[in-house]
Amino acid sequence: MSEKILSRTSGREAEAGDIVDARVDIAMSHDNAVLVSKVFKEIGVEKVWDKEKIVILFDHRVPANTVETAKGHKKVREFVKAQGIKNFYNIRVGVCHQVLSELGHVRPGELIVGTDSHTTTHGAFGTFSTGIGVSDMAAVWATGNLWLRVPETIKMTVEGGFPEKVMSKDLILHIIGEVKSDGANYKAVEFSGPTIDEMSIASRMTITNMSMEMGAKAALIAPDEKTLEYIKKRSKREFHPVSSDTDAEYECEYVFDVIDLEPQVACPHSVDNVKVIDEVEGITIDQAVLGSCTNGRLEDLEVAAKILDGKRISIDVRMIVIPSSWEVYLEAMNLGILKTFIEAGAIIVNAGCGPCLGAHEGILAAGERCIASTNRNFQGRMGDTKSEVYLASPATVASSALMGEITDPRG
């Protein structure tokens, strides 16, 4: 799929290993648009290449948490106005990797770049989506193009039905634990198989989002009826989905069967330090975070709410619920899910990245432990360097908040 998308966008037949000059379909930035615009101005080009293909929104520190952040946001607003950038959403929408598809900017077969490593998320819709730095993005804003090396592809086939309370997050954590944090470095990963077919869009997004944590350049799932139904509701533009040929060449193949998969937990301080739940059960926690571009969707909130319904979380735990977009927030509100969380003793914060990257809304002190549905647990990521973050599925996070210690959601 990567070869097909990069061939189309570069106007030439490209294979793994080739370097292409690719035309970008969508370029996304968040709070770091302030740095992109700074670099862009240094290039000396007056106008961005296409004011309809750039998407900018704030999610990492929203609403502005310090004067410095507020200054940065203000500069971006001024830039957006001066350039006439159409798709600017301010603080109003939620986490970038959730809203990009909600707002109709993701279409199968397209090339998406973002100044955020978890841009790989949108490969769940059959796009080639990859993260880049601010200088590369400034070059895209100026020219509309980016040079890319076409990656080799690793095929991952998934079979079997998930056991009760085991989620796609457990699957991808297990995979990362197996292949390690550089196991897919520079590669595209294609996920397929009956388990992937059965998965909801939300669960697929968790897989492609977390693929970044094994070093993947892109993570792709071929579009199917589910994908097309989702996309067509939100984007009126024509698009050209691609899928891999049956005789496509892969660098290597993995097959995973989830039938006996148990809940997984990534332990401090690396995402590939993955253990099966029974190895970490009983570890006390101080904070539980449910949210993020990885697991902040309605499906995730529903799973957690079902576990917490009518119950109260441990008195010693601070549970922070962060719906990943205002669309999710509203739906959760209408379904009574937010009420369930509040009555259970959790707090709900605004849609955004919150404590995931250590910015605000739930920072940890030395000696504190958090179990989170987020995507990274590097040392000091969520606060003091002497704090610890364990990564898990929404089901495991909710069960753990209930008991005050890491708990198997299966009981």
Binding site: I43, G72, S135, D136, D182, G215, L357, Q379, R381
Partner: protein
């Protein structure tokens, strides 16, 4: 870097040095690279900034720069005075960011085992050689156009130079 040669003290680290420890999330609002430099490696090595000298070299294991795409990780190291990073392997976004920031990087799988923290290292980029004081190690050099981007100080000065 003008002559293509550098000489500096080694700061040695292991595998998977991620961009969160190189440049913590709480500083992502900073826009001045000299301010960014003050927090380089803060979550991995609190001694780094106060003890390092301009021209020092980082030698690391696998997957250096993994994690977040924050270009500040490359920028803060460059402005702190790091003259090169030699690692067994680099994460892809950091690799591009380092080049774009004008920070020389080299892949060398054998070097970490041959150097100690604090020793002096010499690198000749043009010749593709690293001198540890005991032996010369040949490394594949960077392609010429990438070396030129680095010599020009990064992608933006390079583009501006090309535009004339």
């Amino acid at each position: 870097m003008n002559s293509g040669k550098i000489r500096g003290k080694v700061w040695k680290y292991g595998d998977n040095v991620n961009t969160d420890v190189i440049f913590p999330g709480r500083y992502l609002h900073l826009v001045d690279p000299r301010e960014m430099a003050k927090h380089a490696m803060e979550h991995l090595d609190p001694n780094f900034v106060k003890n390092m000298k301009k021209g020092d070299v980082i030698v690391a294991g696998r997957n250096f720069g993994c994690g977040s795409s924050r270009e500040q990780a490359a920028i803060c190291l460059k402005y702190a005075g790091i003259s090169a990073i030699v690692a067994e392997s680099f994460a892809r976004i950091f690799y591009r960011n380092a080049i774009n920031s004008g920070l020389p990087i080299l892949v060398c799988s054998v070097l970490p085992d041959k150097v100690e923290q604090g020793q002096i290292l010499e690198i000749d980029f043009e010749a593709g050689e690293i001198y540890t004081g005991k032996e010369k190690i040949r490394v594949p050099g960077l392609p010429e156009h990438i070396m030129q981007i680095i010599k020009d100080g990064g992608i933006i000065p390079h583009i501006r130079k090309q535009r004339g």
